[in-house]
């Protein structure tokens, strides 16, 4: 259980993290999203006791990060950004070092090291100095160090950055496996990952919390949510624009966009747009190559939330207003 309370960090006059507050309970995997420089890594450094907060605090399983730093560090597993390693040490030496620092005795330490090596498929490189490892392997050693002591709380800063697709998949499985009785925070720039592993996501921009929702909830904020997209077959002689103008007359449609051969109809409130479009298609005997009901687009939501929160992009701001009206 992590309770973050008005956590703030300043670098000189610049506020990198600004009164951030949120809770994570055991069993949750919290996705930590935000554009570059949003303050994700800075927040994680504070949660793991590396950086002292300028003000505010966080309570991790009952321990305050300001006054009980060592107790927090004992129970937390942390993968720092970029997975820094001692280059001259081998993978096994590095893991043993972490185990010994955490007070494991000989046999216990050996068992933990073997287990971590197995879980992250490091068998082949276990006696190699970490200097000579590829980027993905370095990241995996960093992960092995983080999970070595079976931590109750796991904080990972971009754990899948630099991994190949197979390893990404493995690491996502690992996170899900560990999720059951643990509190996990992962930062990432890969939005599919949020949908795949996170039970909740928060988005920060400019150091401030701008969204706190489930992945499904975030996707629902997309203007594409419940929109219907259809592509007309090119050789049918059917013009996408013509289709669009017919569809725009539907009472259920708020708006229609054409993108090449793809026509997207946006719903006007909570309506059954798919059936309506389907009926039109049958009525006009359109030859349609594909037709789908959109769940929403995460990248579009991310853009809208993170740009809309600043002074930037008027379109982003107005879209957010629309969303609020829809929600009301």
């Amino acid at each position: 259980m992590i309770e973050v309370q008005a956590l703030t960090r300043r670098y000189g006059f610049f506020t990198a993290v600004d009164h951030l507050s949120f809770n994570v309970t055991a069993g949750e995997v919290l996705g930590f999203l935000g554009p570059n420089g949003a303050g994700k890594s800075t927040s994680m450094k504070m949660l793991t006791g590396f950086l002292a907060p300028s003000s505010g605090t966080a309570i991790i399983n009952g321990h305050d990060i300001r006054s009980e730093r060592i107790a927090v560090q004992r129970l937390i597993g942390y993968l720092p950004e970029g997975a820094p390693l001692y280059g001259e040490m081998t993978v096994t030496q590095m893991l043993k070092f972490a185990g010994q620092i955490r007070g494991m005795n000989g046999a216990e330490c050996q068992r933990a090291v073997d287990q971590a090596i197995e879980r992250l498929n490091l068998q082949k490189v276990r006696h190699q100095p970490t200097d000579t490892l590829s980027k993905g392997f370095k990241r995996r050693v960093g992960l092995a160090l983080a999970i070595l002591h079976n931590p109750k709380v796991l904080v990972m800063d971009e754990p899948t950055d630099g991994l190949d697709p197979n390893q990404k998949h493995e690491v996502r499985n690992l996170i899900q496996e560990m999720a059951a009785d643990r509190t996990i925070i992962v930062s990432t720039h890969i939005l599919e990952e949020v949908e795949a592993v996170c039970s909740r996501a928060i988005i920060i921009a400019g150091g401030k919390l701008v969204a706190d929702d489930t992945p499904a909830g975030l996707i629902r904020r997309s203007r594409f949510h419940n929109a219907v997209s259809l592509s007309v077959a090119e050789d049918s002689g059917l013009d996408a624009r013509q289709v669009a103008s017919i569809l725009s007359e539907l009472p259920e449609a708020a708006n229609v966009e054409v993108n090449g051969v793809e026509v997207t109809v946006f719903p006007d409130g909570d309506v059954d747009l798919l059936s309506a479009v389907n009926n039109k298609r049958d009525e006009h005997h359109w030859q349609v190559k594909s037709m789908r009901l959109e769940a929403g687009r995460m990248d579009e939501v991310f853009r809208q939330i993170t740009l809309g929160s600043g002074q930037a992009a008027p379109t982003g701001a107005s879209q957010q207003n629309n969303n609020k009206q829809e929600a009301a």
Partner: protein, 244 residues
């Protein structure tokens, strides 16, 4: 305690898994012997003691100790491993002490490797072995004082070269203020008591007696205070500037 020991072991392992340790040991041995025999006129003096060996240690350490100290924290910051280290359940003071002790032990090892010289002296004549032992201890303490300065200054930067230069300059100042001509020059400008105070801060002043085998409690205290002071400064710098 356990954390300090683990960090100490890791550091020593680090020294010996790179050529750094071997290169340093060879250079140290070559230089100490060269200075003793060539500069110190070991044979020509015809006296069976180790004065020529010890007397140049303050100047030898001026470059050799900062070379060992420069990587202590600068490297850790440059590679980002400081974040790994200090998010393990260790306090910053355990890390500072563990790293310092490892480097100090390593310097002790280098010094211990000169023992054949001591044996030679015993073969050639009949030296005062108690004095020699005292001088060894004094030399090691002085190395510790240099090291604590180097360690502190290494935590100020992520650049090892900068750390090295800062340490050499600081140690050089602490040596020079003990030289009689330098002190004499300041005596013209400044009050007597003030100059005496400054001179008593010099490494050189405190090494003089101990290198001759005379153990003065004040000299011991000086070295321990020096080490304590610089390690405290080291700790404060690490705590305040670790994220920069």
């Amino acid at each position: 305690m356990n954390a300090i020991k683990t960090i100490l072991r890791r550091e020593l392992l680090g020294y010996f898994s790179t050529p750094v340790a071997w290169v340093f040991l060879v250079i140290f041995l070559v230089l100490t012997n060269a200075i003793t025999f060539v500069v110190g006129n070991y044979y020509e003096r015809g006296i069976a003691d180790m004065q020529p060996f010890f007397v140049y240690h303050p100047w030898l350490y001026l470059f050799l100790v900062p070379a060992i100290a420069m990587r202590l924290w600068a490297e850790e910051r440059k590679s980002g491993t400081i974040e790994f280290l200090l998010t393990l359940p260790v306090t910053a003071s355990q890390a500072v002490i563990g790293k310092f002790l490892a480097a100090w032990l390593f310097l002790g090892l280098a010094l211990a490797l000169t023992v054949p010289l001591w044996i030679t002296v015993n073969v050639l004549g009949d030296p005062d072995n108690g004095s020699i032992f005292t001088a060894y201890v004094g030399s090691w303490l002085m190395a510790g004082a240099y090291l604590s300065i180097g360690s502190c200054l290494s935590s100020l930067t992520r650049n090892q070269v900068v750390a090295f230069i800062l340490a050499v300059v600081t140690c050089l100042v602490l040596l020079l203020i003990g030289l009689t001509p330098v002190a004499g020059f300041f005596r013209i400008l400044l009050p007597q008591a003030f100059v005496d105070g400054i001179v008593s801060l010099s490494m050189l002043t405190h090494f003089d007696a101990i290198s001759k085998g005379v153990l003065d409690l004040r000299d011991l205290l000086y070295y321990f205070l020096m080490i304590g002071f610089w390690l405290c400064a080291n700790l404060i710098v690490v705590e305040l500037r670790k994220a920069d």
